[in-house]
Symmetry: C2
């Protein structure tokens, strides 16, 4: 049995994960990121003990613990080098965790961990597998020959930070025109707001009012109800997403490219236009094609991926 | 001893390569791409026999042959699926070669082979290594954990076909705004011609006349002589190149990113602005940085990489 920890800016989610990547049980607690990281890590350990006990197990039944954290991660030393939304800098998370729970601990970037989790969940031995997460930003991760692409410094796999629009909008990373500045849910919300200003009669206004705010669903809901301004937002947004995806496919030619994050709940509604764009814009026209799918694990990807990454590191 | 074959649209270059990747001798012959591929392959074998004999060796001294070919390659079956500039489609190159010379034969995409050659030449065991070739297009290849990134269908590593300018200029691949449409030497020549039209007094006109045509050196030569229009072309061109490179670094975080192709002869003159752009636009600000360098093997990269790839496949 393994423990997977999904450390987020808002919540710490901890799960008990079996050898096959199945989540047996889970629990969560607020991160409260204003605290020193040592306290956050103590909560991670305490929550682990709780779910172990609740499952009628002992500490000794846990072979390893995997932690997925946002930010720049030094995987070799188990250090969160920098994670703004955790307010952590050079936090020795793995070492600190072991003070409470003396077990092998693996620390991975959360998006990379999720990619590994989705890879295992897809149940294939793929030469190459890519996860794209459309959320606040565009996250993602790449599995190549059964292991994560981490780069030599552990910070690899930032798929959202390739330029999609040269000299375009400023990204939070400081570079201009990053894919995530056009294809993330944050971007979709900006695009929706702009279209609402330009189209005072659009259904989007009504829908946003019902939600209480402009969120990533507004344009999709409006489009489905036949609103042309909403449809235009969705079409352009998915074109940005698909354009980035086609580039990733040209680079990696993965057997599977899997889309996660909130927007992925739209399912075939987003898959069809994305597949169509990629089909019409792919470099490889004569060989087997990448299967583009919706992620399977959704919210559990982080927990499962972290746990299985820890399992992998045991070998 | 190994044989490396660099199969190009214009010439077939064949080299005798030792265990360490040193080119002992080489020879070349025109490809004449209007011929059936079987004749081209026969020339590859004949040229191999010639350099083996000239070196005082026997066929039995050759452990394996590696062939690097442009186009879409089915590496598993040794087939050139499609290579427009060789006029080959579903050409069973490896099988055909073995009819003449019964030895293990490896077929790789030429840019991938070159990346592997440069990786070995750099003499490091890098977790990740990227080669970018600025030529007619932008080629390249990626070595991860000592092996090439080929994708599940063998067509991976097309780094030049990520979008750099969404909805931009049409690329030869059919997609709009590919990096190579802005960062290749072909693109540089277009950019130079446009600037020449707009600047009738620029030194570029004189320089182009001396060369007899507008080539990739015109703007660089003019810039070095203080021509402001030439400098503007170089600055913008290198910005396109560097913007794509910064994306590749964010994806791969390679220990080395090496630049090859004709333009790479400009050395520090291109490295300095590229490094400056990447430094200012990198996602990773807190960990070890990718070393950006000029390729070492230059024209021999294809031969060496193909031979060493064949050597690797022997294991």
């Amino acid at each position: 049995m393994y423990i997977g920890v999904d450390l987020g800016g808002t919540n710490i989610a901890v799960g008990l994960v079996d050898e096959n990547g199945k989540v047996v049980s889970k629990a969560s607690t607020p991160t409260i990121n204003t605290r020193p990281y040592t306290e956050i890590v103590k909560d991670m350990a305490d929550l682990s003990f709780k779910i172990i006990e609740d499952a009628g197990l002992k500490k000794e039944d846990i072979k390893a613990v995997g932690i997925g954290s946002p930010g720049t991660i030094d995987t070799k030393n188990g250090v969160v080098v920098l994670a703004n939304n955790l307010r952590m800098k050079n936090a020795e998370v793995a070492k600190e965790f072991r003070k409470h729970f003396d077990v092998p601990v693996t620390l991975e970037n959360d998006a990379n961990a999720a990619a590994y989790g989705e890879y295992i969940a897809t149940g294939v031995k793929a030469e190459c597998f890519v996860l794209i997460t459309l959320g606040t930003g565009i996250g993602g991760g790449v599995v190549i020959r059964d292991d994560l692409l981490r780069g030599f410094n552990g910070a690899g796999g930032e798929l959202g930070h390739v330029t999609l629009v040269h000299d375009g909008l400023l990204c939070t990373c400081g570079k201009k025109g990053c894919w995530e500045t056009y294809g993330s849910v944050t971007a979709l919300i900006s695009q929706t707001k702009k279209a609402m200003e330009e189209n005072p009669d659009s259904l989007m206004h009504e829908i946003a009012e019902e939600y209480g705010s402009v969120n990533g669903r507004v344009a999709f809901d409006a489009a489905k109800k036949g609103d042309s301004a909403g449809q235009a937002v969705v079409d352009k947004y998915l074109e940005y997403v698909a354009d980035g995806i086609s580039g990733m496919i040209n680079i990696f030619q993965p057997e599977y490219l899997v889309i996660g994050g909130g927007i992925s709940k739209e399912g075939d509604y987003i898959l069809e236009p994305i597949r169509k764009f990629v089909e019409g814009n792919g470099y490889n026209k004569y060989l087997a094609k990448t299967k583009i799918q919706i992620a399977k694990l959704f919210n559990d990807a982080g927990i499962v991926g972290a746990a299985l990454s820890a399992k992998k590191n045991m070998k």
